[in-house]
């Protein structure tokens, strides 16, 4: 069965690449452009992995991550945080809030695919 990935980012230019990349890697892809939409999409689609940007309007990536992790039913869902904040403290915060991986922008697309695939047990 194809794994579902939800891409959450408010920047269409990066969304375009991520969407293309993940589709090529053989995943089913959905997109949300802000935190609230992300929560709605998760409820609707129940994705296997969320690629989550931190800096977003309405709800930040941290808040979305916290909200998702507070639901035990979604414990198996993987969260990869994508952010423009590269400091150690922010990485620590992301991981502490329950992210499975923390990727700092800019990143290598190849490595991202490898990481996502390994998180999804491929």
């Amino acid at each position: 069965m194809t794994k579902k990935i939800l891409i959450v980012d408010d920047e269409p230019n990066i969304v375009m690449s991520l969407e293309f990349l993940m589709k090529k890697a053989g995943f089913e892809v959905a997109v949300a452009v802000d935190g609230e939409e992300a929560l709605a999409q998760v409820a609707k689609l129940n994705p296997d992995l969320v690629l989550l940007d931190v800096m977003m309007p309405k709800k930040s990536g941290y808040e979305v991550c916290e909200a998702l992790r507070s639901d035990p039913a979604r414990a198996a869902m993987k969260i990869v945080m994508l952010t423009a904040k590269g400091r150690d403290t922010e990485v620590a915060k992301g991981m502490a809030l329950g992210a499975d991986a923390y990727v700092t922008k800019p990143f290598s697309t190849k490595e991202l695919v490898t990481q996502v695939t390994s998180l999804l047990g491929g």
Binding site: N13, S17, L18, F20, L21, K24, G86, T109, K110
Partner: protein, 727 residues
């Protein structure tokens, strides 16, 4: 027995002397005579008795007149003279008794004057010797004061109670600059001798720093210093360093007592803001460019890894690359323009007036290189941010190279600016230099004669975030080097403050910024049983629209000066015009010289009173005819909620205490009696100065009368007749 009752007694004696012998004789005759003789005597005397009484009464009146004249001339005249003699003894040495009245009194006055003359000559001689001895001590003090005033760092010295014993001009200006509020002094005047430092800085922080220092001292630290950063009420950021002032230990090897501390204070608000800006730049260039870079990189990688993608998809990725690249360039451009100042080097630069810099350079070239200089168009009020020392070295270096290699005979300076850039041009006529020459010079150590300098011209230029280039004015057969330096946004110390300071410096022998006698000054409250000479006073005066406070007249000016430790502190003043919101009565204008135009737009009394109240904290109020001024202040109590509850001393009443026999207690008359020069009267501040000096003299005279404490002075003033006049 006082003069008045002695006079009454003399009258009684006179009456007895005039009637006594006659009555006695008559009684004796009457007792001696036979019945018939008595009858005859009565018949003869009775009708003539009124005539006798009339003559006696007339004689008595004549006697009274003579007695009164004598009494006036001798007794009253002498007691008035003795008051004046006392004056010569204490307050006013140069006062002389007028030779009036009968010849004997005149002779006495003359003799007293001669004695005084002789005493003065002796005193002058002694004083000269004392002055000579004091001079070296004074010189040392002045050197300290001068050093302090010139320091570019704010310095405040306090005793353990937080009372300020010394502050320098920079500290004054710093705190003045911090002041916010409608009045000319709000906050700024809070720095003052004997005032509490806690009005400016957080008490907790000072105490904490002091504890740290004491702990370090106990551990035997050689540098008992503490640093802290604090914010003021107006939100400015100050960096303070505290060093202990230590006394001598009570016993050999005992604990070193701390008697006070020195605070050096620096306002770092602006440099902190620059630092913050710098952080923002770094942030916007690092984290800020991450999203764009991520999009770019991902798009490029997609294109490379998937060469098989269809045309429209490829076109979209190329579009992303173009868009993100353009956006990044824009962000970079904007950042560099917005934050160019904060990106410049961290070398400490100071604000220098361009013409001052040129003048210093010209003088240096003339003395060092014997090179004549001239100036061309100089931008008069151009302030430059510069490290003036290294900049002067650079100019000297360039000039000496031009002199050595191109034999220039004169160098001209030009000063101009364009936006944020200031141009200092060094112009010469004759042989042109090549740009390559300048490039080589830029990288050489700046050595002039025997003076070796490891810095290069390029270093100096970079320190200023500036540039240098070579340019020719072919038509004029001239060439010049142009040094580009940053223009200072605003001069750090405003010219007005500098002028005020210079004015103060010139008019006074030394600034009254320190008083080490305050080391033992303790306790802030006003204790009625403290000596008059130990208290701090605010001497004030007001000018008003008219003379009837209860009929709606209002204050138009408040002036005040402080007295601490028996000194009038001419730098610690309050001087504020007030908008009365009602017309000023025209008859007053020639006296106080304040017109409607001057008060329009000034703060109202509601804003001035709180500031003035703060200025008066912990001091006794002094005013001439204080009841009048206090009435004005009291009438505002209800509306402003500001109460002046401190004790008030009135120089008018005190003058009546010390000189009850003088007719006039107007400020002019008292000043004249006490030998005080009256300058600048009839401004509130001018009158405060005069009143303050009068008060200081009066304190001396009160002491001579046995009135030492504030309570005694208040009681004595209360008892004078004049105290019963009410406004």
């Amino acid at each position: 027995m006082n003069a008045r009752s002695r006079f009454a007694l003399a009258l009684v004696v006179l009456g007895l002397l005039m009637t006594g012998p006659f009555v006695l004789t008559a009684a004796l005759l009457f007792a001696d005579a036979q019945e018939a003789e008595r009858q005859a005597l009565l018949e003869i005397m009775a009708p003539r008795l009124p005539l006798g009484a009339l003559i006696t009464t007339f004689g008595f009146i004549l006697g009274v007149v003579v007695l009164r004249t004598l009494f006036r001339q001798y007794v009253k005249g002498l007691s008035s003279m003795s008051e004046k003699l006392r004056l010569m003894l204490s307050a006013n040495r140069h006062y002389r008794v007028d030779a009036e009245g009968p010849p004997e009194v005149q002779a006495l006055a003359q003799a007293a004057n001669d004695l005084a003359q002789q005493r003065d000559e002796l005193l002058t001689d002694v004083e000269a010797q004392i002055a000579h001895a004091k001079q070296s001590v004074e010189e040392e003090k002045n050197r300290l004061a001068a050093l302090m005033s010139e320091l570019a760092l704010g310095v405040v010295v306090c005793n353990l109670d937080g009372r300020i014993l010394l502050y320098n001009n920079r500290a004054r200006l710093q705190f003045k600059a911090l002041a916010q509020g409608p009045t000319s002094m709000a906050g700024g005047a809070l720095i003052g001798l004997g005032r509490s430092i806690f009005a400016i800085l957080e008490r907790g922080q000072i105490t904490h720093a002091l504890e740290n220092i004491q702990r370090r001292l106990r551990k035997g630290s050689s540098e008992p210093v503490a640093n802290f950063i604090t914010t003021t009420r107006s939100g400015q950021l100050l960096r303070a360093q505290m060093a202990a002032v230590v006394g001598t230990p009570a016993e050999e090897g005992g604990e070193v007592p701390v008697t006070g501390y020195v605070l050096t204070i620096e306002n770092i608000t602006r440099s902190f803001e620059r630092e913050t800006e710098r952080d923002q730049v770094i942030h916007s260039l690092s984290d800020g460019s991450r999203p764009a870079l991520a999009s770019l990189r991902a798009a490029v990688e997609m294109l490379r890894q998937h060469p098989d993608m269809d045309g429209p998809t490829r076109e979209r990725f190329v579009g992303v690359i173009e868009e993100e690249a353009t956006r990044m360039s824009r962000v970079l451009d904007r950042t560099m323009t917005e934050f160019s100042d904060s990106l410049k080097t961290r070398w400490p630069l100071e604000d220098v007036l361009g013409v001052d810099l040129v003048a210093a350079a010209a003088q240096r070239l003339e003395t060092r290189l014997k090179l004549p200089t001239k100036t061309e168009s100089l931008a008069e009020d151009l302030w430059i941010r510069a490290d003036s020392f290294s900049l002067l070295q650079a100019i000297t270096f360039l000039a000496s190279h031009l002199q050595d290699h191109y034999e220039i005979r004169e160098l001209r300076f030009r000063l101009s600016s364009e936006g944020h850039m200031a141009f200092v041009d060094l112009i010469w006529s004759g042989i042109p230099v090549s740009s390559e020459t300048l490039y080589t010079w830029e990288l050489e150590p700046m050595t002039v004669g025997a003076e070796v300098n490891p810095l290069t011209l390029r270093d100096v230029i970079e320190r200023h975030g500036g540039e240098i280039w070579y340019q020719r004015e072919k038509a004029a057969h001239r060439a010049f080097f142009r040094l580009v330096l940053p223009v200072a946004a605003t001069p750090e110390v405003n010219p007005e403050a500098v002028a005020a300071y210079q004015h103060a410096g010139r008019s006074e022998s030394r600034p009254e910024y320190y008083d080490f006698n305050l080391f033992n000054f303790q306790d802030s409250g006003i204790d009625l049983d403290r000596k008059l000479s130990e208290l701090a006073y605010t001497v004030f005066d007001t000018e008003t629209t008219g003379l009837e406070p209860s009929n709606g007249d209002e204050i138009i000016q408040v002036g005040a000066v402080r007295i601490v430790n028996g000194r009038l502190l001419r730098q610690e003043i309050f001087d504020q015009l007030v908008d009365p919101r009602i017309p000023i009565k025209p008859e007053g204008i020639p006296i106080h010289g304040i017109t409607e135009d001057m008060v329009r737009g000034q703060p109202t009394i509601d804003m001035v009173l709180p500031a003035f109240h703060e200025f008066c904290t912990d001091t006794v109020l002094v005013a001439h005819n204080a009841a009048f001024d206090m009435r004005f202040l009291q009438l505002k109590e209800e509306r402003t909620g500001i109460r002046f509850q401190q004790p008030v001393l009135d120089t008018l009443l005190l003058s009546a205490v010390i000189h009850p026999n003088q007719e006039s207690h107007r400020l002019e008359s008292i000043s004249e009696r006490l030998g005080i020069n009256v300058i600048g009267r009839h401004t509130a501040l001018g009158d405060s100065f005069v009143t303050g000096e009068v008060f200081l003299k009066i304190v001396g005279l009160l002491n001579a009368m046995g009135i030492h404490t504030l309570r005694q002075a208040l009681d004595a003033a209360q008892k004078t007749y004049l105290a019963r006049v009410k406004y």
